[in-house]
Symmetry: C2
DNA sequence: CCTCAAAATGAAATCGTTTACATCCATATG
DNA sequence: CATATGGATGTAAACGATTTCATTTTGAGG
């Protein structure tokens, strides 16, 4: 495994010159450049990132914090981040926290130990105090879920408005008894989406029914099923469900089917995210499309700018209501 | 951002001693250990992985090559790998190749440039010649999909037997007209699963009908739909489908539903992998369960052993037929 | 109190780059 | 021909840890 010294020796030049060739600096005469390139080829030389990274005090690795790799919502975002990262010679380290502070801390350590140059946090359950503290010394961006007070730059959508439009759609096709399948209120997006739900109801003179709001602990399929069971047991059963995640909605779909009811004739369902699976279900799912890929590219660009020491502004992206078979 | 020198100075010892404390060597007297630990705390010192990695000629990063992050089959494997990796102080770099040689090469470069200590390849479309060449100098393990000639250690299941049992199950519940929805024959697992299919038919005296075998280019949902369309158009329509991936099977399910036929009464469907989503469909999917998490942990252990210079043997894990509503 | 082995510590080399600064050389100019 | 100029190249010092080997300190045993 040759190193730069050996290349220099073989080419009859100094390591500085080899380094210059390696980094495409134009102060090298073409004569010596060729000599060096030949030596590189001869020796099968590959520059070591270890040496380079130490010298440059960078790892060229970006950390991505997600609660669960199983939630397809994040996958498309990750693809976006990856595209930007690769194009700028960064690599991404995917970190599944399981919303577990201990695991989270393992990953935070990576940036403390210079193993990573920055973090994109998408975990709603992230310890915001630690994150804030970290953000003073390191580059951090919040993606999708964010905390305003933290002062950490974020990219997201307008959750309140998106939710409002989803519920308004249900009202417009004739529903009055609309349930909200929400996640834990400790999350900002959950509160924002609930506000949109309330605004839509108010605006159309529909009184708020507390029984129609169900909170789930996680955004998984099973939690959607369980929540739906509760909703189906309500005396004055809702005729429409707005779930704050497609996975919840798909769980609801499954449970409604199992109970012998029909979607959308008996119960209409609207999801949120537009994950791939939402078009694979039977019936396909009406949902709010988040621009996930775009969100990823923006987050990636923001983080890299931040690492470079540039100033970055918060970004709010557009969403879209996608009408399909479930309404 | 303190370094080891400053800690040494503050503690009034040499860097060697600090390093010894850092690495928990027991040749340090408790008196000086305490001094050093206090200095570390005072200065908020965090050892830099960049320096350590260069000195140790390692990156403590494992590369995972997958064709597509969207295929949930890989997610569970990745979780297995991650568990082992973290427990041994490694981190994993997830690399989506899109079966694109160019992108693949970017990632291969990471190991050539010492940015990664080894590779777990799960991409059936990997360029096996490059992989073989790389395996001479670096630590590589094949997971799930493998190439025997390459001499690169692998962990997988007995695809032929699994496929045989799936088809046998269909035969036992009365089916004779069984279609095989296979992926491209250039993949070893595709050939192995086709052999299992043939053996099951032969053994029960069912003649092979070439029209009942459909090849798809990729393992995605849409490809399952398209393949199913072709199958439904066959004159003497099959009464059962064995798809070599759950995603294909779910696509088939969707298409069968759309055509007004009923699963399993009109057409039975068996999938392969037991991805999470296979229990969320309507009806739920009978499938071959691969021990994905286990496969991940084994692959992780094999790779780390290999990196340590130990000898590793190939591993074949058990599979299981999971009966659900679609048959 | 001396001796000596064992334990504790330190000095310095090393890993493989990049880069500031110094130096060399060729060429143009007077 | 001497000299200034600028381009091409080299020297050596970082970056931040680990580790070998040498040296010092410690403490037990006589």
């Amino acid at each position: 495994m040759a190193n730069i010294q050996q290349v220099a020796k073989q080419a009859g030049v100094s390591v500085a010159t080899v380094s210059r060739v390696l980094n495409g600096q134009n102060t090298v005469s073409s004569k010596t450049r060729i000599k060096v390139e030949e030596a590189i080829k001869n020796l099968n030389y590959e520059p070591s990132m270890l040496g380079r990274n130490l010298r440059n005090s960078e790892s060229r690795i970006l950390l991505i914090l997600i609660p669960s790799i199983s939630n397809p919502f994040y996958l498309e975002i990750i693809k976006g981040i990856e595209q930007v990262a690769l194009s700028q010679n960064y690599n991404i380290l995917l970190c599944e926290t399981d919303s577990n502070p201990e695991k989270e801390n393992i990953y935070f350590d990576l940036v403390r130990k210079k193993m990573a140059d920055g973090i994109i946090s998408m975990d709603p359950a992230v310890n915001i105090d630690t994150l804030k503290e970290l953000a003073e010394k390191y580059s951090i961006i919040q993606c999708s879920e964010y905390n305003l007070d933290s002062g950490i730059p974020y990219v997201s959508i307008d959750n309140e408005e998106a939710s409002y439009r989803a519920v308004k759609h249900l009202i417009q096709i004739g529903h009055k008894k609309i349930a909200l399948m929400n996640s834990d209120e400790k999350f900002l997006y959950a509160r924002q989406r609930e506000m949109g739900y309330q605004r839509a109801l108010e605006e159309h003179g529909i009184p708020l029914n507390e029984d129609y709001i169900i909170y789930t602990k996680h955004l998984g399929f099973e939690h959607g099923q369980q929540a739906m069971k509760k909703i189906l047991a309500i005396q004055d059963r809702p005729t429409a469900i707005f779930a704050v995640s497609d996975l919840l909605a798909i769980g609801a779909l499954k449970e409604i089917n199992a109970s012998g009811l029909h979607v959308p004739n008996d119960v209409a369902v609207v999801g949120f995210d537009k994950i791939d699976f939402s078009s694979m279900t039977n019936p396909t799912l009406t949902t709010i499309a988040q621009p996930m890929f775009k969100m990823g590219t923006v987050a990636g660009e923001m983080l890299i700018d931040k690492i470079r020491g540039e100033h970055v502004d918060n970004v709010i992206l557009n969403h879209e209501l996608v009408l399909r078979e479930s309404t």
